[in-house]
C-alpha cells in the first residue's frame, strides 16, 4: 500500500485506470495508480504535460471530460468508493465534501453572475433550506478570509483581476468545509507576484482549517514549498512517492532526480536547468517495459523488458528496477 501513515487515510486510490480513445488508438492517461492520503496532509502531484496528473485529479471528482473514462480501480473517500456512487450522491459530494480549484480563473467563473451569486448558488444547491440572508452573511465572512474587500461583493467576474478571481475560486472550493480539496495548477496562469500572494493565502487557509489538499503542479518550487508528500508521475504512473524532504534530499527514481535538476532555481542558477534528454513518450504506443527507460541515464538490462513494480525503500515507494 502506498504511503500509509499512522491514521487511517482520508483518501485511498487503488489501481485506478483512466482511458480515452483517440483517432490513433487507446490512451491510458492514468495507468494503474495507487496512493493514499491522510487527513490534514498536503500531497503534491508533480509531473510534466500529459503525465496524467490533471486527469487523476478530475477522476476523483468523476469529472473526467469525455472521451476519457475511468475503466478500473477504486477511489475511496473515508471508506466509500466514489466510483460506485449514484450520480445524485456524487453531485452532493462535489463542492461539498470534495472540491476543486481550477487552473484558469478567467474561464471558470460565469461572466453573467455576480461574484456573490456564485457563492449563494453554491450554498443553496447543497442546502435548499438556507435563507438568502444567511448565505450572504457567510459569503461576506468568506470574503474577509480571502482578503477581498467587502465592497466588491456586488461585482461581476470581469471586474475582478486574475488574482482576485483565483481567490474567489479558492473561496468557492472552501465554502462548504470540504474534507478534500484538489487544486489543479492553481497559480499557473497568474503573474509572479500574484502567484506568491495566492500561495501565501493557500498556506494560511491550509493551516487554519486543517485542509487535506492534493496540489497538482509542474512547478517544483511550489511542491517544495507547499507539500508534505510528493508523488512524481510519468506517462500515467506514479514512479516515486514519499515525504517531500526526503524526495528532494535524496531522489531515488532517475526521473525524479532529472526533474529536480531541471527545475529553475533563481538563487542558484548554475545548479539548475539540467535537461533530461529525449522527448515525452507517445502514450498511444508507449515504450515497452519501464516507460522512462529510453531517456534514463541509469538504464540497464531489465528496463526495456518488464515494467517495474512499486517497491518500498524506507519512507518511500519507488517503481524502478534499480531497487528491485
Amino acid at each position: 500500500m502506498w504511503g500509509l501513515g499512522q491514521m487511517p487515510p482520508l483518501l485511498n486510490v487503488q489501481e485506478l485506470v483512466v482511458q480515452y480513445s483517440t483517432l490513433r488508438g487507446e490512451v491510458r492517461a492514468v495507468n494503474d495508480v495507487s496512493f493514499s492520503l491522510e487527513t490534514a496532509a498536503t500531497l503534491g502531484l508533480v509531473g510534466e504535460s500529459a503525465c496524467g496528473k490533471s486527469t487523476l485529479g478530475f477522476s476523483i471528482l468523476r469529472i473526467v471530460p469525455p472521451p476519457g473514462r475511468t475503466v478500473a480501480g477504486k477511489i475511496e473517500l473515508q471508506g466509500v468508493n466514489l466510483l460506485n456512487l449514484p450520480l445524485e450522491e456524487m453531485r452532493r459530494i462535489r463542492g461539498g465534501q470534495v472540491s476543486m480549484i481550477f487552473q484558469d480563473p478567467m474561464t471558470s467563473l460565469n461572466p453573467l453572475m455576480r461574484i456573490r451569486d456564485h457563492f449563494i448558488e453554491l450554498f443553496q444547491t447543497h442546502d435548499p433550506s438556507i435563507k438568502k440572508e444567511d448565505a450572504l452573511g457567510r459569503t461576506t465572512k468568506l470574503f474577509d478570509a480571502l482578503g477581498i474587500a467587502g465592497d466588491r461583493i456586488e461585482d461581476y467576474p470581469h471586474q475582478f483581476s486574475g488574482g482576485m478571481r483565483q481567490r474567489v475560486m479558492i473561496g468557492l472550493a472552501l465554502a462548504l468545509d470540504p474534507k478534500l480539496v484538489i487544486a489543479d495548477e492553481p497559480t499557473t496562469s497568474l503573474d509572479v507576484i500574484v502567484e506568491a500572494q495566492v500561495l501565501e493565502l493557500l498556506k494560511l487557509l491550509k493551516e487554519k482549517h486543517r485542509l487535506t489538499l492534493i496540489l497538482i503542479t509542474h512547478n517544483i518550487g511550489i511542491v517544495a514549498e507547499m507539500t508534505d508528500r510528493v508523488a512524481v508521475m510519468y506517462a500515467g504512473q506514479i514512479v516515486e512517492i514519499g515525504p517531500t524532504g526526503d524526495m528532494f534530499g535524496d531522489p531515488l527514481h532517475p526521473y525524479t532526480k532529472g526533474l529536480l535538476e531541471s527545475a529553475p532555481n533563481v538563487l542558484h542558477p548554475e545548479q539548475s536547468m539540467r535537461p533530461i534528454p529525449g522527448n515525452p513518450p507517445d502514450l498511444v504506443s508507449p515504450p515497452a517495459g519501464c516507460k522512462f527507460h529510453p531517456r534514463c541515464p541509469k538504464v540497464f538490462k531489465p528496463c526495456p523488458l518488464r515494467e517495474p513494480l512499486p517497491i518500498s525503500q524506507g519512507s518511500r515507494l519507488v517503481a524502478c528496477h534499480l531497487y528491485d
Binding site: 500572494q197 517531500t244 533563481v266 536547468m273 535537461p275 515525452p280
Partner: protein
C-alpha cells in the same frame, strides 16, 4: 527612446536601452510590463509612436522596403507558442526552408540541403524523416526546435526570443536553451530574451532589464541585479518565486494589490501604490534611471541597499 501608443494605452512608455553585440539581453516583467511589445518593436513588427530603434546605427523606422527586407534577414524572432507559430498546413521542411525562398538564398537544391542540415542541427534527426512531417505530428519541444531552425537558417545576427521556453516542458527547457546557446556561439548571435521567469533569465542572460507597466525600473549585469537588486519591485519579484528546496524558508516581500491597468497608470513612480517604501515624492515625480553602481541603473528615489 521609444514609446508606442495603442489607442490610449502606452504599452511601452519612453524607454531607452542599448544591446551590445554578442550579448544576451534579458527583458523581464509580468503582464502589462510592455516586454512583449518592446520585442516586437525591436523587429519593427509594430510601428513605434515616437522614438527610434537603431540597428548598427541605422534607424529601422526609416528603412526603405528593400532595406527592410534586408533587415529581416539579419534580425529574426523566436516565438513563445510553437504550435501557433507554425502554419498547420505547412510541412516543417518547407516551413524552415521558407526564409531561404523568400530571400532567394542559393539555388533551389542548395536550399533543400541547407534545410536538412538545419533540421539535424536543431536536433530533429533523421532530417529526411522530419522534413515531410506536419507540426501536429511533433511534440511541443520539437515544434519549438522547428521555430528556432526557421529563424536561424537565415544566419541572422540578432534574434528576439519571446518567452521561447514558457510553453515547453520543464525537462525540455534546458535542451532548448542549450540549443539557443550553441547557435549563439556558432553564428555570433545577439539575443534579446523576453521572459517573465526570473530564474530562466538568471540562468541564460548577461544583462537584464526589469520592466513594470511600460517602464524600465532596473537594468544592469545579471550578476549584479540578482545579487543585489535595488528596485523594490525587483526585490519583490525575486522574493516571490518559489524555490525548489524544501529547506528554504520563503521570506517574501509581497507588495500589496495587483498590477494596475495600463490604461491609467499611477502618477509619479508607477510602482508607488504598492511599494512598501513609498513616500510623498514618489506619487509626484517620476524617477529616472540613474546609475547606482558601474553599469547598474535603477529608477527609484529610495533604492534598496
Amino acid at each position: 527612446m521609444l514609446s508606442r501608443k495603442k489607442e490610449f494605452v502606452r504599452a511601452v512608455d519612453t524607454i531607452s536601452f542599448t544591446i551590445e553585440r554578442r550579448e544576451i539581453f534579458g527583458l523581464v516583467g509580468e503582464s502589462g510590463s510592455g516586454k512583449t511589445t518592446t520585442g516586437r518593436l525591436l523587429l519593427r513588427l509594430i510601428e513605434p509612436t515616437s522614438g527610434e530603434i537603431r540597428f548598427h546605427g541605422d534607424n529601422i523606422g526609416e528603412l526603405s522596403p528593400q532595406s527592410l527586407r534586408q533587415f529581416r534577414r539579419r534580425a529574426q524572432m523566436i516565438f513563445q507558442d510553437p504550435t501557433a507559430a507554425l502554419s498547420p498546413r505547412m510541412r516543417i521542411g518547407p516551413a524552415i526552408k521558407h526564409g531561404l525562398d523568400i530571400h532567394q538564398v542559393g539555388s533551389v537544391p542548395e536550399r533543400k540541403k541547407e534545410t536538412l542540415r538545419m533540421l539535424e542541427r536543431v536536433g530533429l534527426a533523421p532530417p529526411e524523416a522530419f522534413y515531410d512531417k506536419y507540426p501536429h505530428q511533433l511534440s511541443g519541444g520539437q515544434r519549438q526546435r522547428v521555430v528556432i531552425g526557421r529563424a536561424m537558417i537565415l544566419k541572422p545576427e540578432f534574434a528576439v526570443a519571446d518567452e521561447p521556453v514558457a510553453m515547453v516542458d520543464v525537462s525540455i527547457r534546458a535542451q532548448i536553451l542549450d540549443l539557443m546557446s550553441s547557435l549563439k556561439k556558432e553564428l555570433g548571435l545577439t539575443y534579446a530574451f523576453i521572459t517573465h521567469d526570473l530564474a530562466t533569465a538568471n540562468y541564460f542572460c548577461d544583462r537584464i532589464a526589469i520592466m513594470y507597466l511600460g517602464k524600465i525600473v532596473e537594468i544592469g549585469p545579471r550578476k549584479d541585479v540578482f545579487k543585489s537588486p535595488r528596485h523594490p519591485y525587483t526585490v519583490a519579484l525575486m522574493s516571490s518565486i518559489p524555490i525548489p528546496d524544501p529547506k528554504h524558508k520563503a521570506d517574501r516581500l509581497i507588495p500589496r494589490g495587483e498590477i494596475p491597468s495600463p490604461i491609467s497608470p499611477p502618477p509619479g513612480c508607477r510602482f508607488h501604490p504598492r511599494c512598501p517604501y513609498a513616500q510623498a515624492v514618489c506619487s509626484e515625480r517620476e524617477p529616472q534611471l540613474e546609475e547606482i553602481e558601474p553599469d547598474h541603473q535603477v529608477a527609484c528615489f529610495f533604492p534598496c541597499t
